[in-house]
Subunit: 244 residues, 2 copies
């Protein structure tokens, strides 16, 4: 039976929030999470097409926060880069592209091992948070490429829906609402809870503790139960109990 005592993850809904710059609203949370022992972050840019541009953007922001940043796509051997990483930052974009590339580069088990066994901190935003969970079944993204599985890093045993929004009651659009889509997922047998993280919100996971951070809050959907709203500061450690 695996132990998750060393696990540390900061799963952020989105890198952008209306009125703020890139990662601006969560700068303090990231710095608190990485602490003073981290000198350098390994960035995973696979969710976007232009990896060089994405790495430059992330590097500027992390240097501004006092950290060096390497991008995994700059290494001839990405597995070795993961093996020596001090911290991970997995950026947003298209979740299918991100997950497929992690499989293509043989990084799924490697990243998971570093986080769970070695206690290497994992920061995800948007698609990067999605792939941190058990699967990408609740991504909002278009399936632009076909990954070998929807199973993901499984750092936590539930799903996250990033950029979560409640339905707009004034909308005349007939496409499914976010809530309807999540409820459709829960029509499938044995599906885990889905934490709908609003933009401006993130989940801090340390060992067997999980706490909601940020300003906006989250809505938790559990199969066969009414959904529940949670505010920043809420203890969601119970979501980790399915971990085995």
């Amino acid at each position: 039976m695996a132990t998750y005592a060393k696990r540390r993850a900061l799963l952020i809904s989105s890198s952008n929030l209306h009125g703020f710059g890139y990662l601006e609203y969560c700068t303090k949370h990231i710095k608190d999470f990485l602490g003073s022992n981290t000198e350098k972050v390994l960035f995973v840019p696979y969710a976007l097409h232009d990896r060089d541009a994405y790495a430059a953007k992330a590097r500027a922001k992390f240097e501004d926060m006092g950290y060096k940043l390497d991008s995994v796509h700059e290494f001839s051997n990405p597995v070795e880069a993961v093996k020596s990483a001090q911290a991970f930052f997995v950026g947003g974009g298209n979740t299918f592209r991100l997950l497929k590339t992690l499989y293509d580069e043989n990084l799924i088990q490697e990243i998971r091992k570093r986080v769970v066994e070695d206690g290497i901190p994992y920061i995800g935003t948007s698609a990067g948070s999605n792939v941190g969970t058990c699967s990408i079944n609740t991504t909002n993204d278009m399936p632009i490429v076909y990954p070998p599985s929807f199973n993901a890093l499984n750092l936590v045993p539930f799903n996250i829906n990033v950029h979560y929004v409640d339905a707009d009651p004034t909308s005349t659009h007939k496409g499914e609402t976010r809530e309807q889509r999540i409820l459709e997922y829960h029509e499938v047998d044995n599906t885990p809870p889905v934490l709908g993280l609003r933009e401006g919100c993130m989940l801090l996971v340390e060992g067997d503790k999980a706490v909601l951070q940020g300003e906006t809050g989250a809505r938790l959907f559990t199969r066969g139960e009414d959904s529940v709203q949670y505010s920043p500061g809420a203890d969601l450690s119970f979501l980790l109990k399915m971990t085995s």
Copy 2:
């Protein structure tokens, strides 16, 4: 080389349109499409979880239009039901669930053969239109189940995005817009055009002709080119020319 002379498909963006009942705004188009030679329609309810309820809803509407309706899930042998169908109606819901079930029931090649070789008319709404195209790569739905492939019925050699909406310039939401998602798809090599069908719009395909019908219109995204708006009545036959 396949010939598509007999192919007939009515690919509808959505069964619902603000201000109208189920399939109400497109009733005339469906009746014109099926004509007087069709007595009975074979319904494919796999996109929704409750197949009985979905079949009852579709049956009531089609009987109201003067057609009998069988649902494929009511047959012990779905392949035989497809082989003897006079027309297909594939309803909307979750595209991943629909496509996976079509594969599980061995219906992909069978439906395609009936439409392309036998000239059996195909009506799709929403997810049903998505699976009528070359692939489901441009669905809006959540990947709640894992199909064995994203390749679909390939009745037409391009993609459709149903419920297409332009970005709301007043939105403060930071999730990707529909246009951004489609442009991400076109960052992938060799991806075909994507026809963004607005709610209230449909594409009528007959042999090597394709015409936009309905009231609202469509926006065509072609890799490496500027997108183009089309109004109802537009001849989009050029989209079929990639057919081989």
